[in-house]
Amino acid sequence: MAVIEAEGLVKVYRSRKSDVRALDGVDLDVQEGTVLGLLGPNGAGKTTAVRVLTTLLRADEGRATIAGLDVARDAQAVRRLIGLSGQYAAIDENLTGRENLWMFGRLYQLGTHDAKERATELLTRFDLEKAADRVAKTYSGGMRRRLDLAAALIGRPKLLFLDEPTTGLDPRSRLGMWDVIRTQVREGATLLLTTQYLEEADALADEIAVVDQGKIIARGTADELKTQVGGERIEVVVHDRDLLERAAQLIAPDGSASIDEHTRRLTVAAEGGAQQLVDVVLRLGEEQIRVDDVGLRRPTLDDVFLALTGHAAETAPESEETAAPTTAEGESA
């Protein structure tokens, strides 16, 4: 059963300079117990989509339901079913971790005793019990995010929205956050998460929807998307620019290697995986071509974008006023 269903969502931010179609006809459905990752660069419309689905923002056109309830008409009923953890840890810095969770629990209409118990339970689960009675402004970035996620879970929501849950975290905190999210998923949570990192969507989501300029331009599992992009590739940076052509011949006799003169970088699809890399290295070695760098590279969000839209992932601040007025150059995909 689809817990989230959206049809033709349109949201236009009007400003003096220009109108920005932050959502330009978005259809979505998320089945119960699954994880959908919305993948896209800043300004693609991911946050706007989350804000519409969590009743924070009214769409101009289209409709969306959560468990059959309309997000605009039955907003209050929808709010009882959802938990939201936004891009910035929205916690009260002047309250302790425990007080924050108690407050959000009470506002979720839990009884004061239930809210207290639930707060203690979540503080333990998210490894915050030592800091529970410290004011949240003393927390590290990772701790704030964990507290924010705990706040989203306080009312035992059926459905969880995580808007860029790891943006701005250091690598270690990011892995910690992934663990916490994975636990939720194992326990059967239905989850919609947004991210700028293919790696993150890959690690957490069952299915990925790629968002660009307010539209969903591709959807599938991580493997399906990577196949669309062409899977892994081998990259070689040749030391001597004069040998670039020769090296390209060696690593891809069929002439499929792409050559970047400026960075002296050769890129070729690597259907053969690691073995193909070994072959390439051996051939280069036989010809005594010096290389500065060589490696097997997984597709990044940039590659996915390039393959799907023909333009690179553009980065623009995703605020309501300035959401990515990118030009429509991506029709050639």
Partner: protein, 265 residues
């Protein structure tokens, strides 16, 4: 009336969290009090000697009600800063994503402001007592005066909510304090008798809500009140205080609520 019960319960939770801020950031309350005390000292001891009161009386007793009103007028700035802070930190969004009473964010906010300003008022009255301010009226008049001041504070808090939801950053909210509240309080009878102002400014000062409140407080506390002469607002400061406060509430409460509702546009 289940929804009313939820509205009250949620409002109390929001008030609780707003008041928790006071002991957690003691600087806020301390600076607010120090600023007022600085004005007390400045006017009572530095300028006071040079300001003649028509009809005589103690300048310090004349001054204190002006200080009360000025301090309470700053409630709007304090509120605006706090609301702007909640907006930029995403807390308002979090509240809006919860199944809580929609009214609670604003009702809890403005109720907490009243409680906070009662605290400020008590400290200022004690300061006044130390420098020689006295209440010469009866208990009922005193209570009436305090209630008028708090009613005014409530209106100022709603102005603050509206401003806080309208400004882009916390810093802008802070600037408003200096650019708006200071001039308004100086263009009144809070520190000097209106008769001493240039003739062109006198009507403005007479109709200034700050003057009405200050005049009302002086009258009800039995302090020297040279304002009470020759103009309609001067003769009816209590009536004018009530009219002004209701007018401000009637304008800014709906504006603030509409602004809050329009966040989802």
């Amino acid at each position: 009336m289940n929804s009313l019960r939820i509205a009250v319960a949620d409002g109390i939770v929001i008030s609780w969290r707003n008041l928790k801020r006071v002991p957690r950031i003691p600087e806020l309350a301390i600076f607010a009090i120090l600023q007022s005390i600085m004005f007390v000292l400045l006017f009572a001891f530095v300028f006071g000697g040079a300001i003649p009161l028509p009809g005589g009386g103690s300048y310090r007793e004349f001054l204190m009600p002006g200080i009360f009103v000025q301090t309470l007028a700053f409630a709007s700035v304090t509120t605006a800063i706090a609301v702007a802070d909640d907006m930029t930190k995403g807390l308002i969004d979090r509240f809006r994503s919860l199944p809580m009473a929609r009214s609670a964010v604003l009702s809890g906010r403005t109720f907490a402001d009243i409680v906070y300003n009662i605290g400020l008022l008590i400290v200022l009255m004690l300061t006044g007592l130390v420098i020689g301010w006295r209440v010469h009226s009866g208990v009922l008049d005193f209570i009436y005066g305090v209630l008028l001041l708090l009613f005014f504070t409530y209106a100022m808090a709603w102005i603050g909510v509206f401003l806080g939801l309208s400004v882009p950053t916390v810093e802008v909210a802070q600037q408003l304090g200096f650019l708006v509240i200071f001039p308004i309080t100086f263009l009144s009878n809070a520190f000097v008798p209106i008769e001493t102002l240039p003739a062109a400014l006198q009507p403005i000062a007479e109709w200034n809500p700050i003057s009405a409140l200050t005049g009302a407080a002086r009258e009800l506390f039995g302090n020297p009140n040279p304002f009470a002469s020759n103009s309609f607002p001067g003769e009816h400061p209590i009536f004018m205080s009530i009219v002004w406060t209701i007018a401000l509430l009637a304008v800014f409460m709906p504006l603030a609520i509409r602004k809050y509702r329009a966040i989802d546009r």
